[in-house]
Point group: C5
Chain length 312, copies 5
């Protein structure tokens, strides 16, 4: 009835073998987005990156590459100073009143737009229909230049599928270097973060959780905040083997402070991790934790659009 | 004008006699979903399962059965590590502008989708129209594999009836073994939970109540939290005879911590139980208790769709 | 332009003289719903029923009558254990794009549905258009069996008028015997409640106000809660002459704890009563008081539908 | 492109010279609604009416006049016991898909409805498009009988323009005599209120601000509440020269306690007044202050409908 | 696929060279809106203007110029007593069902409306699609007379593009002279504000952040509030080189106290600034900070409409 995420040949263009190799070559870095249709050649090291409150003092902005080719996936996914734009969408019901033939071409059109922008942005797609009320799917767009991300989003919205998609949440974040659990400030935990690596099966699920903290949190003296983050980090170490994490900073550029992004295969382990995070004092400073908590299956853009374009 | 829940022959396919027998064989376990159209041969033991805050340390994930036949209803309803996906829907008004003939086929199409997925998921349906503003009906889907639940939901949404249904809430939960009122930690109460059994008439009503707890709750030392849960559990013992309960854990995979699900025939008794639960200190830690509180009548999928497809 | 509430001959069928006499015969009980189109033969005693937090220990469920005739209005309006379902609706704008002739038949169709269910439910209607943003009208449905109320609501929604009505709030409540200001617990106030009776003109207005109380309220020791309810009740005695009240309990079966329902002719007096109720400590425990506060004119179902079916 | 508020000859019918004279004759009373298209013959005394929390003990209900002619504008705007119904509306986008000719007749139809009800209600209109997101316009309806206000509102909604208008807020209030800053309780301030009069140019702007106060406020002993209201009133005296105020009481008949209504020409002075009111302790007891704060230009009903009926 | 902000010749009419020169001539003032399509001849001094809580005592209202020509952009952007109306919009999906040819003319029609009002208002446009869920674009309108701003907004809504745009937020603000960090009250910081100037590249991004403060804030004694504002201002000095700011006061004329507006090229630096502002005690008094936080690219009106009028 709908194409599954593994069967789509179109998805190869988006998550190519080249990208997989690049990830492999990237060494001990965050490798959230191992290509789904390619074999997972080896467990990727997944250092835990704790939510950061202070701007990294010496974090240099990511040099915007002048290269004329496609964005280097491994690099952009590990560099600081990169923009991550998350947008969640619901397909409007009138989409399904279009003739089936018209909906059939939708995926190819979207894939073409992704391809058109491949020198400036990388795009990941997630199917959330059936797993959350606020969205049918969401996109995660990485770019060195925020305006480039907007140009992609604008072109995407101008596609047939895009015009029938209503955006329900849209958050901008920036990646930064670790700023609490660094080698300098918290050596033992930092070692722990890099000692463990993801060893579970290739994750099929992604979870996106916006996080906002209270004025009380931001007014805690920096040293105490470090202690709170250490309490936050300690119970997470045991989950490094089956949860991948990536963090985006959003204060003042979205109505959230952080976007936390996870990839997991073992959803139960993830639930346990989140309970552990609920049980530390740092949780008392949350004013937003979720809303939405969005669970999706990691799929190619092509598959997501195809699945959502199917109706009887 | 609309088919009642007892008269539908189609519903037998969904809640078969086989399932009823399986439930019977399941012994002293949670048997929330005794088939509605079959006689209730004997009172099912309904041990009270208290909201759990700690991940069950030794809870093994439910082995995902490789069996090729339909999901074993009794097993999946009592096993830990099972996903329960709740989705509440409103039928869009334009559905009733379709020709009556077109709406007539809707139920069979939905039933076929349920049947198609019967090796991976079981589906329960509830009619809430007239009893709550946020939904006309809701589905409860159990699966060992979350992706399988999503595939069912996606196929359901692609049916004619599905495309005219707007999802208003959609929560993922996981079942776990008891973690507070265990034989080890709280023997007397545990005995009480298993001493009493549901003896009322077959329940016609189900109530779904999401529960979220504050950071303060999660930061209470475990021992004190156990005491709070004992205070919570004690007044509930007297209601074991007329309220069935089932609990799902959702922290970090939905914007709630628990989904509590009840089946009752005596709605007044249930109201009294909920007042009793409001009167213990544990209630002070709720940040969400309901919203929605959704009361529905337990019906076959076929009947729910047929009732909601009727209009003059 | 639209039929007024007094001129409609159709309304007699719904609020018949028989019902009026029955109310009269009911003696010193709550008689909120004196028929509007019939003369009000004598002031109805209107004992003040204070919001109740404890389940009435000895309250027997209302025996579900097996009688084959229409529901006895006076009895069902005064018995404990009765379900009151409140549903507020907005008429969708596209209703007024139907041909005027099509809208003309709407009232008769709704009246027929009310009549069809008259052995199981009684239905009251209120026009709120122009007096509140959340609804154009609301229904109050009483039934001994909740499923019967749902069957009526489902049939109502299947009428032409129903399919063009969007439900904005829908609350279930149960009536109970007085539980705070009883003869045993608070004799003087109880006497006061039964000493005064409604003496104002037949009320044209109804007000529906949902009430939810905090966990702190429910955790107050019962004796102190009684004192709070006494403080709440004392200032209301003077308003018994011009405000009729009826209380429904909803904890756990709707996202509210109580539905308070009033009938008044003197809206100014009602405003003063509500200010008096705001000025007692019990008010500090409200987490919901209104939202919506819904003021409507008491009308026949026929008149409400006719008025809302009129457009130029 | 659209008719301006001063050029519309139709508006004379609504805000006639007679009304202007009546206002003039009304003496030292609240004269909020000086006709816009007539010259402002003399500065109107504008005594400050402070938000009142206690029902005026001796306030007699406004005698409902049996007169057969139009409502006396000056009288109804100054009498206690009068209902003020505020309704804010957004024009639905599909209105602009009607043929231009169809929209052209809209204003006359609405004016005719206002005229039809002129013996029972007076109607003021305000254009808010471009100045607030929640509404395009709002109506203020005064009536001695609440049902009469509803009948007007119902007829208005049945006009072509009304059927294309969605109500976004709808609040009922009642006027009362001053109850805090009276000659008896607070003589000096009371003198101050009556000493200053509005001397600015005829106000072009109206501001509607709902106000709700906490349970803590209502539980303050009356004497202390008087002191709080004195602190609230003192800084407002200097603004009597350029801000006109009128107060409506809504506790229990809408989800607000007060509707405060202002007319100003100097919007900057009004902003300063509101900052001054924010800086007194009484502000700490607000649970709603605005939401919406609605700024509109004072226009004739005719002009408001004409402006909103224009599209390219 | 869509015209970029630099390529549109039409935009010259809106942000002319004349305006650029005027800005240059304006000397050490806030120059937020350097024309995008013209070279930035020299770094504009950008004194930091801190959120102000007290009305400037001696601030004279901006003399409403009687001049017959276009509004002087440099003057109106730096004068106190000017109205700034912000309106955020979403384009309705049905816009994209119009024939492409019909959408093509939309931009010219909007530009003509801007031109028609150029003697009374200046209009700036921002594309937010893809960067925030609540809006596709927003307008910032400056006028000496609030009614003139409304007339523009009303005419804009009457354009084809306007009728297909739904307003999602609409806030009125007034500019005022600095009132905390003045030379008199806080000399050192005031000097700091004027010592640093914006030296980054011409900003491509604008951020609009509504700010509302608690009753507690407004009740702080003025001297202590000055200290809080000094703590707020100190960490911002280092960002004067890459963030331009402008402040509007809204208490009582919108549901916010301030509208803060920023222009930046370095979005990461802005994020760091906002984190710094989160870390001072003044942040504890915020009841609204964002909601929405709206990031847009600074574009000509023509380009914004053209981009949003494009669809496949």
């Amino acid at each position: 009835m709908h194409s599954t995420r593994r069967s789509g040949a179109m998805s190869v263009g988006l998550r190519s073998c080249a990208a997989a190799l690049a990830l492999l070559a990237a060494g001990p870095v965050l490798a959230q987005q191992a290509p789904m249709s390619a074999p997972n050649p080896a467990p990727m090291p997944a250092p835990m990156q704790a939510p950061a409150a202070m701007p990294a003092p010496a974090a240099m902005p990511a040099p915007m590459p002048m290269a004329s080719g496609p964005v280097d996936r491994a690099k952009i996914l590990t560099a600081p100073g990169v923009f991550g734009v998350f947008a969640t969408f619901k397909v409007r019901p009138d989409y399904y009143r279009l003739a089936s033939a018209e909906r059939k071409g939708a995926a190819a059109e979207v894939v073409a737009v992704v391809d058109k922008h491949k020198d400036k942005v990388i795009v990941d797609a997630y199917l959330t229909r059936g797993l959350g009320a606020s969205a049918d799917y969401f996109l995660r767009v990485h770019a060195y230049d925020l305006a480039a991300a907007q140009r992609f989003m604008t072109d995407f919205k101008a596609t047939r599928f895009g015009t029938f998609s209503d955006v329900s949440e849209n958050l901008i974040g920036i990646t930064k270097a670790l700023n609490y659990i660094t080698k300098q400030k918290s050596e033992a935990l930092n070692t722990g973060l890099f000692a463990a690596t993801y060893t579970d099966k290739a994750p099929r699920y992604a979870v996106m959780v916006p996080v906002k903290k209270s004025a009380e949190w931001w007014n805690i003296p920096e040293e105490q905040r470090l202690k709170e983050m250490e309490s936050h980090t300690a119970p997470t170490l045991q989950y490094l083997v089956n949860v991948k994490r990536k963090l985006y900073h959003s204060t003042g550029i979205a109505d959230t402070d952080f976007i936390t992004y996870f990839e997991v295969e073992d959803v139960g382990a993830f639930n346990n991790l989140m309970i552990a995070l609920a049980q530390v004092p740092e949780n008392k400073y949350h004013t937003r934790w979720g809303s939405p908590t969005l669970v999706g299956t990691i799929q190619s853009v092509d598959d997501v659009v195809k699945t959502l374009s199917t109706a009887n």
